[in-house]
Point group: C2
Chain length 191, copies 2
């Protein structure tokens, strides 16, 4: 049985993703948790505080996710496949709400919100993990660039699938990503 604060952050995380940060009100979150608006402020002073808590929650979950992939898959290519597979697994949600990281950063950029760099850290976690896989494949100085390229392509797929409400597009384009990956490192080694 989780404590109230955790329930609030959990509900906020979900609603911020589904409806966006600004479009989610305290009342929305309170209704999900089954809490009065007044009691809300015992746990969080401002809406920005909830946002920080949500980003921190996502950061720790991302860490766990990436560590899990590193344990379960034993070659860099298999690990990169896990990243791509995540998009396919989440395709129904991506189609409806886009990428949780990308759409949050996009919104915070428009708001000129001070939490944008913190949200960007979510990208950075993936970036460094992906770059580590490319480094293990022997890409040296190109590893970070390839990580960014893979991140960017996944963002583009999510944005278009969301705009066109098209889940099949995710399946097609992730397959293309796998082809690209194999062409890049056919034997698990760089050219």
């Amino acid at each position: 049985m989780p404590d109230t604060r955790s329930q609030i952050v959990e509900a906020a995380d979900k609603l911020f993703y589904e409806r966006g940060y600004e479009h989610t009100s305290f009342a929305d979150i309170a209704a999900v948790v089954g809490l009065s608006r007044g009691n809300f402020y015992y746990h969080f002073k401002t809406k920005d505080d909830i946002l920080e808590a949500v980003i921190d929650l996502r950061k720790s979950r991302t860490q766990v996710l990436l560590e899990g992939w590193a344990e379960q898959a034993h070659t860099p290519i298999e690990r990169l496949d896990r990243f791509i597979g995540m998009m396919v697994m989440n395709s129904p949600k991506i189609r409806r709400h886009g990428c949780p990281v990308g759409t949050l950063c996009t919104e915070l950029a428009k708001l000129e919100h001070p939490a944008l760099p913190n949200a960007g850290m979510l990208f950075t976690l993936f970036r460094q993990w992906l770059a580590a896989q490319f480094t293990q494949l022997g890409f040296g100085g190109k590893a970070d660039g390839l990580a960014m390229q893979l991140l960017a392509r996944s963002q583009g797929i999510a944005t278009m699938a969301n705009a066109f409400d098209d889940e099949e597009f995710i399946r097609q384009e992730t397959e293309q990503l796998r082809v690209w990956l194999r062409a890049l490192a056919p034997t698990g080694q760089p050219n």
Copy 2:
């Protein structure tokens, strides 16, 4: 000297791009135009009406833009280069506010706003124009898929450049897009 209605749509177009649709208030737009809030409703009944007008403005401008490229560039490859060049030319704005089309669609999807399909038409205009170029290159049934791929990659570049506040990334990745394009159609013909 443009009429008031045009001024309103112009100001709304700019503010919706820079701050987002929901985050822009009537007061914000009225302040730019130098109009009282009350007078606003003589020109537009609801905020959604302004959004529709903004999308229509963008659609007609996109048409003009694409027709201009078709006139100025005489080969499909040159025309596709114009599309890529647009990103480089607008890189300062993309870095700060993202892609005007992509970020609008992302926001409207979160709001479950009925204007999302209309905003998606902006993507469709580019999609069809790009597909026409790939068709001229002889790609036949693959043309639309390539158009979507190019659109998706440009969206990814915009999202990452915006999140990381990185203009250099746009320059790098658009260069990669040009390389990809040449590899795809080395002699202006498909493989």
